[in-house]
């Protein structure tokens, strides 16, 4: 009567790996990305080859990369953070202010302050969501308005110009280490750290469990409130770092800084295979999604598609991605059903 049970897979570890790879969303998106870059390079060689091209290819996505990582951590817990764009703007301005008001303040300190500040903003969201038991979408929509308003009110009309920030800091925006831009390196380090935590640390797995079934997580005795809070803090901290990046890369911080990045971050995660209702998806996927989104924006003009159509393409891509997910999961369900049948007829 054990035939009610699912038989163990007869696959070897390698077979499993290969199969997994073929099925994995990360790989699929990555392939698209590579293809895109290839086409663009054929069309105009220095898109990839020119040292500028190479650098920009890597450095331009770094800001969205950070945001996508943070957004993923939050989405995995079945929440969302719409305030990251405003957080970027606010932190970027704070960074500029620091340099203006505290001349000679070490860059590392500024970066840390930026992250801490972002984390604090994230904490506000987290407290409201985890303790206030109010939906994240609404809360972060509200804080999105609030943070940006505070930013613009505080900044008033004096914006930060390249001249206001030490050249050492600005050089960060372009400096390269083994041809890899520093900002990209930092972002990738963050990616690896978060990716590692989500995969290999208990609290990381607990985030997945919480998003997978919050009720069960509570019944199981997981520290749901604390974990959700933590997720928002991480998201905020990464957004804060993104703000630092913004100041370093663009050299000026004006009213528009970081506007509308929030939806892009969510889109990147979704394209990267992160389920909007939590429980599944990886930061790796989200990262590739971010690279893809940014690269598309840069490639389409090269392919002769005017600026204006870019968003249309991106939108189509997002819809395609979620639709694909749905199709695949339906396929899997059917296979599982079949498996149950086979198990039964096996007796």
């Amino acid at each position: 009567m054990t035939d009610l049970l699912v038989r163990p897979t007869s696959e070897s570890a390698r077979q499993r790996l290969v199969k997994g790879a073929l099925r994995s969303r990360e790989i699929a998106v990555f392939v698209i990305l590579v293809a895109l870059i290839a086409v663009a390079t054929v069309r105009s060689p220095n898109f990839l080859v020119g040292s500028d091209g190479w650098r920009d290819l890597l450095v331009t996505p770094s800001i969205l990369l950070l945001l996508a990582i943070g957004q993923t951590v939050v989405i995995i817990t079945r929440n969302v953070d719409l305030s990251v764009g405003s957080t970027v703007g606010l932190t970027a301005y704070l960074v500029g202010r620091l340099f203006v008001d505290q001349p000679g303040i070490p860059i590392v300190v500024v970066a840390l302050i930026g992250m801490l500040f972002g984390a604090a903003l994230g904490l506000v969201n987290g407290v409201l969501v985890a303790f206030g038991r109010v939906p994240a979408l609404v809360v972060t929509l509200g804080t999105m308005y609030i943070y940006r308003g505070v930013f613009l009110e505080w900044a008033g009309s004096d914006r930060i110009n390249a001249g206001d920030m030490p050249s050492g800091f600005l050089r960060l925006g372009t400096e390269q280490f083994l041809t890899i831009p520093v900002l990209t390196l930092v972002a990738l380090v963050m990616l690896v750290i978060v990716g590692y935590c989500l995969r290999s640390l208990r609290w990381g797995r607990e985030l997945y469990a919480i998003g997978s079934d919050p009720a069960a997580a509570r019944l199981y005795g997981l520290p749901v409130t604390r974990r959700v809070l933590g997720a928002f803090v991480i998201c905020g901290a990464l957004a804060g770092l993104a703000g630092v990046f913004y100041a370093a890369r663009y050299g000026t911080v004006s009213s528009g800084a970081g506007r509308n990045l929030e939806l892009e971050a969510v889109a990147a995660a979704v394209i990267g295979g992160v389920a909007i209702f939590g429980g599944s998806g990886t930061v790796w996927g989200a990262a590739i999604g971010a690279f893809l989104l940014v690269t598309i924006d840069r490639v389409l003009p090269i392919l002769g598609i005017p600026d204006f159509w870019q968003r249309a393409v991106v939108g189509g891509l997002i819809i395609g991605a979620v639709a694909l997910d749905r199709v695949l999961s339906l396929r899997r369900e059917r296979q599982l059903r079949q498996a149950r049948d086979d198990a039964r007829s096996g007796s």
């Binding site: 040292s51 500028d52 000026t252 004006s254 528009g256």
Partner: protein, 316 residues
């Protein structure tokens, strides 16, 4: 000057002027506000700056309506859209508000006077000449503009195209991209331009945000010095790039003077010194006397060219 009879204005008491830039937090308009406030100080008027946080016409309309309800003396506005805010402006005028446009005009029938920083022809020619001189009058050039619908930028671009076609046969205008007066977008568009056209000779950016972002990118690029960059920028933003040789020269009028003149024009309208008729003349404080030209235009002057020899003499 209206200092003596400042009381007779529609604003009641001193001349109440509402300054409505395209959007808040834009240094160019901050400069013109400084000018306007200076002027107001002189004829003891009162300048309030209001505006949307994003350069969108519909948002601007709400502020125009508000000004109409408040019954301010005059509204000094830089239009985000030549038509979209037209009716709102006319309603304001019906409510007795004098309307002065500056920097970016609306359709002439929607305002009393347009204070023109420099006539479009002159601006277009100045920028084309600058780029031509910098690239040896031949090669591919691209334009990095502001919002796709920005009135004045689009007008200048059109004139620049004509100018190039007419007088610079060897210059090819290969592309026009839009940075939406947003640092990040302008910056990334510049990067895209350079990777798209490996043999690009120069970039014209007829907007202060655009040229600064482009300069910021070029200064860090291997193309620095190879690709010429000019356009319209503020000295404060560009000083660093003039000094490090990214940019040799760029043009602009003095936005402070522009605001100053706009404020005096408004005051003159409030006091009925002028009606906006061609030929009206008025005193604009230290800038001297100005005359209203064809369809209500007041011309500030020719664009001024900044380069390393003179850039340090300015801060705005």
């Amino acid at each position: 000057g209206g200092d003596d009879d400042g009381g007779s204005g529609g604003g009641g008491g001193s001349a109440e002027i509402t300054l409505l830039p395209k959007n808040l937090g834009n240094p160019y308009f901050d400069a013109s506000r400084t000018g306007a406030e200076k002027a107001a100080g002189e004829f003891d008027g009162e300048v309030t700056e209001v505006g949307p946080d994003q350069a969108a016409p519909d948002a601007q309309v709400s502020y125009i309506n508000t000004a109409a309800q408040q019954g301010v003396g005059a509204l000094v506005v830089s239009a985000n859209d030549p038509t979209a805010i037209c009716d709102a402006l006319n309603e304001a005028r019906d409510a007795g508000v004098k309307v002065v446009t500056f920097d970016s005009d609306t359709d002439p029938e929607c305002r009393d006077v347009f204070v023109n920083q420099a006539d479009a022809q002159g601006i277009a020619k100045a920028q084309v000449d600058l780029i031509a001189e910098q690239i040896g009058d031949k090669g591919k050039v691209a334009i990095l503009s502001a919002a796709a619908n920005a009135t004045n930028q689009n007008a200048w671009i059109k004139l620049m195209e004509e100018e190039i076609a007419a007088n610079h046969p060897n210059i090819e205008l290969v592309d026009t991209v839009y940075g939406d007066d947003d640092d990040q977008k302008s910056f990334d568009e510049t990067a895209a331009l350079l990777s798209r056209y490996s043999d690009l000779a120069g970039i014209i950016s007829p907007t202060t945000v655009g040229i600064a972002a482009a300069a910021r990118y070029l200064s860090t690029s291997e193309q620095k010095g190879k690709v010429a960059l000019t356009g319209l920028g503020t000295p404060d933003q560009m000083r660093a790039y003039i000094k490090d040789g990214t940019v040799t020269s760029f043009a602009l009028w003095n936005p402070e003077d522009l605001g100053y003149l706009a404020a005096y024009t408004a005051e003159a309208l409030i006091n009925d010194d002028i009606t906006g008729e061609e030929g009206d003349t008025f005193e604009a404080g230290e800038l001297g006397e100005y005359t209203v030209g064809a369809d209500g235009g007041v011309l500030l002057g020719e664009p001024f060219v900044f380069d390393e020899t003179n850039i340090d003499d300015f801060n705005f």
